[in-house]
């Protein structure tokens, strides 16, 4: 790779995501009001300086709730991507590098899983694990996210299996584990990192859809998706609830999306 330069997409995405991440981390420790406390101010009040995103019909401060909810959503999405990326890369590495029967079997299984819409698959897993728990949502979505990572990394590992620098360390007696982790893995980052950003966004949206449908996060946990479904009930009386929550989801997805786009463009420039 040439000296890595930050392009506009990457810069904008990193700045936006950094701001949101700081706010989200802040939200774990401090919010302007207790997110669950009722009657922190007048009910159904529009945005004011005291309540940046207004209040809901119980008088709860929406900005505080969004901060805390974004924390849940962020944690879930990050964990889902972590499970998907780690397990998917492991599967992709083994199948791409070794090929043969393992490859054929795992990739046909992969095809079968990919054939189902992912949200449907997550629904099935949730119904087996039991709904309403944050960890079950993470596990369900994590499993669903494995195939896409496996597919992307398999191609990269297969392409680098017989490249000269790999052949050369094999001749020097490097173990397969060392070849996979130390020699090939760092060179798959150009496809893995964009896949992670896309996966993160899909996870945010998947969590939001599931919680909106009532099979994801349930009270007392709050996530942006759950809050969106709550906001639906008072959309006419307090449109700022839906707007504040929705815009937060959009910003989160937009920021990470920009990073992904920036990474891909950088690869394009270097290649």
């Amino acid at each position: 790779m040439k000296k890595a330069k930050l392009n506009g997409y990457l810069k904008a995405g990193l700045i936006l995501t950094a701001i949101l991440t700081v706010l989200i981390i802040l939200g774990f420790f401090w919010t302007p009001y207790d997110p669950e406390a009722m009657m922190t101010g007048p009910k159904l009040q529009g945005p004011t300086w005291q309540h940046l995103m207004g209040t809901d019909k119980f008088g709860r401060d929406i900005f505080s709730r969004v901060l805390r909810g974004a924390g849940s959503t962020f944690t879930i999405a990050a964990s889902v991507v972590a499970i998907g990326a780690v397990c998917g890369t492991a599967v992709g590495a083994l199948t791409g590098y070794f090929g043969g029967m393992v490859d054929e079997t795992l990739m046909r299984l992969n095809d079968a899983l990919t054939a189902f819409p992912s949200i449907l698959l997550a629904l099935v897993i949730i119904s087996i694990l039991g709904p309403g728990k944050k960890y079950n949502v993470i596990v369900a979505l994590g499993l669903v996210f494995i195939p896409s990572f496996a597919r992307v990394t398999r191609t990269a590992f297969a392409a680098l299996r017989d490249v000269n620098y790999v052949k050369s360390v094999r001749l020097m007696g490097a173990s397969n584990g060392r070849i996979l982790l130390v020699h090939i893995l760092p060179n798959t980052m150009s496809v893995l990192l964009p896949a992670i950003t896309i996966g993160f966004n899909n996870a945010v949206l998947a969590e939001a859809s599931m919680s909106f449908l009532g099979i994801g996060v349930t009270p007392p946990d709050a996530s942006l998706g759950y809050m969106l479904s709550e906001a639906q009930g008072m959309f006419v009386a307090a449109p700022w609830y839906a707007l504040g929550t929705g815009i937060t989801i959009v910003l989160l997805v937009f920021g990470v999306g920009l990073i992904g786009e920036g990474l891909q463009r950088r690869n394009g420039e270097v290649a």
Partner: protein
């Protein structure tokens, strides 16, 4: 030159089995009854048109493919290889120092300071300045990269090296420098080479003996003077005529 052997290839035939679990296998024999020796300290050239089995032979010698018949006997530990394309033989994710140190880490017998010392020693032998240690391969020229590749191949101190077209991707002045370096390293480090090339001029400059390969067979072998001045086979004459 003494007559001690580093490699002995005897009546080797072999090729590639293709196919997967859901496909019918096909087999293509590439090498036919190949026999030759590599003597200690010599540079043995292997010439022939592309597609004639030169690379397959090197893969068989390195143990990447198993010959179907015949035996390949190594009299030295772990042979190493230098590749044609200096752009794909160095891992782009790491610095030159890391790349040079890696074979020693894999070997596992030396501690950190000793590895660093050996890296610097080898860097001197391939005539590169210490500044390149901090560079990534992409920041180096083709000739520098090939020097790093040679250093990487030699740092485990093998006695026998297979060089597959090591200069054909370089321009002519750099070619001459690398050839000179290879000869120098042979003398300093007591090496033997199997030097694969389609470029007869390069082989004439560098090699002691030559194998001429056609369609998977060794059709003629002898000293460089014999082959270039008194070729016996028609095929060798054609190759020489084409190289004029």
């Amino acid at each position: 030159m003494n007559e001690e052997l580093v490699l002995s290839v005897s009546h080797v035939s072999g090729g590639y089995h293709e196919g997967g679990p859901f496909r019918k296998g096909t087999y293509q024999e590439v090498l036919h009854d190949v026999t030759f020796d590599v003597h200690h300290g010599e540079i043995l050239g292997l010439v022939g048109e592309s597609g004639t089995g030169k690379s397959t032979l090197s893969r068989a010698i390195l143990g990447i493919i198993k010959p179907d018949q015949g035996t390949i006997t190594h009299y030295t530990k772990r042979p190493q290889m230098i590749f044609q394309d200096p752009y794909s033989s160095l891992n782009p994710a790491y610095t030159v120092e890391w790349i040079l140190e890696e074979p020693l880490r894999i070997y596992g017998k030396y501690d950190g300071p000793e590895r660093k010392r050996r890296v610097r020693d080898m860097l001197k032998r391939v005539e590169l300045p210490e500044e390149v240690l901090a560079a990534k391969p992409s920041e180096l020229s083709g000739g520098q990269r090939q020097r790093v590749s040679i250093a990487t191949a030699l740092i485990q101190r093998p006695r026998f090296l297979i060089a597959d077209e090591p200069v054909s991707a370089l321009d002519v002045t750099i070619q001459a420098q690398i050839l000179k370096l290879l000869r120098q390293l042979r003398d300093e480090l007591d090496l033997s080479y199997l030097f694969i090339s389609h470029d007869l001029n390069v082989v004439y400059q560098l090699c002691d003996r030559v194998l001429v390969m056609k369609s998977g067979r060794i059709v003629e072998q002898g000293t460089v003077e014999d082959i270039f001045d008194h070729p016996k086979e028609d095929y060798t004459k054609q190759l020489l005529a084409a190289a004029e």
